[in-house]
């Protein structure tokens, strides 16, 4: 192995493979100049790694707050007392959904029409399916409560 400063630097950085480390150590054992160079480099390494106390400027907290105010995304959940879009929709449609769900036999209309061999318009069919589901849900919910 030749005397190479770069190899000594990589050795101090801990960037050499095991085989290379062994070679460098063997070389160091035999080469006085490299041992001297290594100790000099170690001194530089110590100085470079020494933490420098950098005084923090008093403006930092202000800059931090400014960045948060400017760029923070809005809270994901709506705050208490301020209902979101879906909360309003639920409230607005509640009377209608409750009324249709309690219509006697609303869930069975579709089956009756099918049995009679007639077809219903798409819009009416959709609304009947919805009321049928609601009706079944209410019934299932009622039974569940009754069991308790």
């Amino acid at each position: 192995m030749r005397c190479e400063s770069e190899l000594l630097q990589a050795f101090l950085d801990g960037e050499l493979a095991e085989q290379k480390i062994r070679e460098v150590k063997e070389h160091l054992a035999a080469c006085r100049a490299c041992r001297r160079e290594l100790s000099r480099l170690k001194l530089l390494w110590l100085e470079l790694a020494r933490p420098e106390a950098i005084p923090l400027p008093p403006e930092l907290p202000y800059l931090r707050q400014q960045a948060i105010a400017a760029a923070r995304p809005a809270p994901r959940r709506p705050e208490k007392g301020r209902p979101g879009f879906w909360d309003i929709q639920k409230l607005a449609w509640r009377p209608l959904s409750l009324t249709t769900a309690y219509l006697p036999g609303s869930g069975e209309v579709k089956e009756l029409v099918k049995a009679a061999g007639r077809k219903l318009p798409g819009l009416l069919l959709g609304s009947l399916t919805l009321t049928g589901r609601l009706w079944r849900l209410r019934r299932a919910g009622g039974k569940g409560r009754g069991r308790r």
């Binding site: 400063s5 770069e6 630097q9 990589a10 950085d13 801990g14 960037e15 000099r40 480099l41 001194l43 530089l44 390494w45 100085e47 470079l48 790694a49 020494r50 933490p51 420098e52 950098i54 923090l56 400027p57 403006e59 930092l60 907290p61 800059l63 931090r64 707050q65 400014q66 960045a67 948060i68 400017a70 760029a71 923070r72 995304p73 809005a74 809270p75 994901r76 959940r77």
Partner: protein, 193 residues
């Protein structure tokens, strides 16, 4: 309230202002110090710190919470600093070459302060000389030095953090330390050869 980084990041994602404040408070010293080391100027470091704060606040939704926060933050700081250096440095002045061949202790101190370098040589402190020499290094060399010796990153990690090729990282490190070694040689009066 003491919460680890992950918890704070999760709370930030819920849009909680207090969490942002805590997270940035925890790292503002680190951010500023790293910016200062890379720029060497208080005003520049402040401007960059503010840019980093903004990038952190806007970038958190894209951060993978199962990963450690600090390496991500370091990458943000390094990118902000690199962009800044590219913006600020005239094209005629390369980011990766020393301004001149003369890198003696006297030149270093003369560049750092205005007074007579010969007079100051007599009482110069190692620390001060090193700081002055670091300021004279090309910005990219200073960057890799800070990441290696202050952040204790491996060559590979430095390459990943800066986007520089691995070979370039090694070259910058070796060259920078050779120049600094020359300054040390003068301070301590080392015999060469």
């Amino acid at each position: 309230m003491d919460a680890d980084d992950r918890q704070l990041v999760l709370m930030c994602r819920e849009g909680r202002e207090e969490a942002y404040r805590q997270l940035l408070f925890r790292y503002e010293g680190y951010i500023y110090s790293l910016c200062y080391r890379l720029t060497g100027q208080r005003e520049d470091a402040l401007e960059l710190s503010q840019e980093v704060f903004l990038k952190v606040v806007t970038g958190l939704p894209g951060f993978q919470v199962n990963r450690p926060f600090k390496p991500w933050l370091r990458r943000v700081v390094v990118n902000v600093c690199l962009n800044y250096l590219r913006r600020r440095t005239p094209e005629t002045l390369p980011l990766d070459q020393p301004a001149g061949e003369n890198f003696s202790l006297a030149d270093t101190l003369a560049a750092g302060r205005g007074d007579d370098p010969q007079v100051r040589l007599e009482w110069v402190e190692t620390r001060e000389a090193l700081r002055a020499a670091l300021e004279r290094l090309p910005p990219l060399w200073r960057l890799v030095l800070a990441l290696r010796h202050q952040e204790e990153l491996s060559y590979q990690e430095i390459a990943a953090a800066t986007g520089l090729p691995l070979g370039t990282v090694k070259t910058y490190l070796f060259r920078a330390r050779n120049l600094l070694r020359r300054v040390f040689s003068e301070i301590y009066g080392w015999e060469e050869g």
